[in-house]
Symmetry: C2
Subunit: 154 residues, 2 copies
């Protein structure tokens, strides 16, 4: 058992890495298609996620989210604004702040690309009974916890 299942566990870890590589490739493909770099995509995702939570990201928060200094954030938002994916909106309450809003075209492009993936993933899960999906979910949460621990401290 230990022999066999140790190998099985190791293979699952490798499969996870493989999946990670492919998922990165999807992001890269989206970037290529729209003339963006990986940072730009990460930024758009961060802005979209924030919008989904009902918050409008400011330039500073975006910098934290994608781990860039303020100078880089300015350049990043400049790029995104120039191609029309994002609008700068000064906060009337605190005029130092610059809010970021995604344009409809960017929302549509993101939804088309990543929404399509989400739909296909969901469809591929059709055949799985709820109990199995529950197992997968628990496993994913466990693995994410371990990985997160490695990503932060050691």
């Amino acid at each position: 058992m230990t022999e066999e299942s140790a190998r099985a566990r190791q293979e699952l870890a490798l499969l996870l890495r493989r999946l990670n590589v492919e998922l990165d490739a999807v992001g890269q493909r989206f970037a290529d298609r729209h003339g963006l770099n990986r940072t730009d995509v990460r930024a758009l995702v961060a802005i979209m996620d924030a919008a989904r939570r009902g918050e409008a990201l400011t330039a500073g928060r975006l910098g934290e989210a994608v781990d860039l200094r303020s100078a880089s954030v300015t350049a990043l938002v400049d790029r995104l604004e120039r191609v029309g994916h994002v609008r700068r909106v000064r906060d009337p309450g605190d005029r130092r702040r610059v809010g970021l809003e995604m344009s409809e075209s960017a929302m549509a492009a993101g939804a088309e690309h990543f929404g399509g993936l989400a739909r296909d993933l969901s469809a591929a899960m059709e055949g799985y009974p709820d109990e199995e999906l529950a197992v997968v979910r628990r496993w994913l949460e466990d693995m994410t916890a371990v990985i997160t621990r490695h990503a932060r401290g050691s």
Copy 2:
């Protein structure tokens, strides 16, 4: 059922993306620790994977693996060689070729970082019976197939 399980499937997709982000962060952490950038890490992984398969990567093949032009590969190998992670070894059979060998220190650093993660992941799977791991494996393979399709064609 469709209502409930549709939401469950969507949550799994989000969980997968979250896991992807954290896994990237692990790579980023390794890069930071060793003064490397993401490309350098990808290159080291490619060289290590090739070594695991018993092949010694050439500069050209490395360029294909990490999708860089020859000029960038030269600079990349220069960086890795300068910090002692890689050696250039001219192929005696075909003297045009430049083989790449990882140094023992780089192997050890990689094994320590990613091997530690693999060990922890494996340990976190201890509690899962073989049948559940089999379900997870099938699910991962299915998802990877879908994602790979999106990464390549549409």
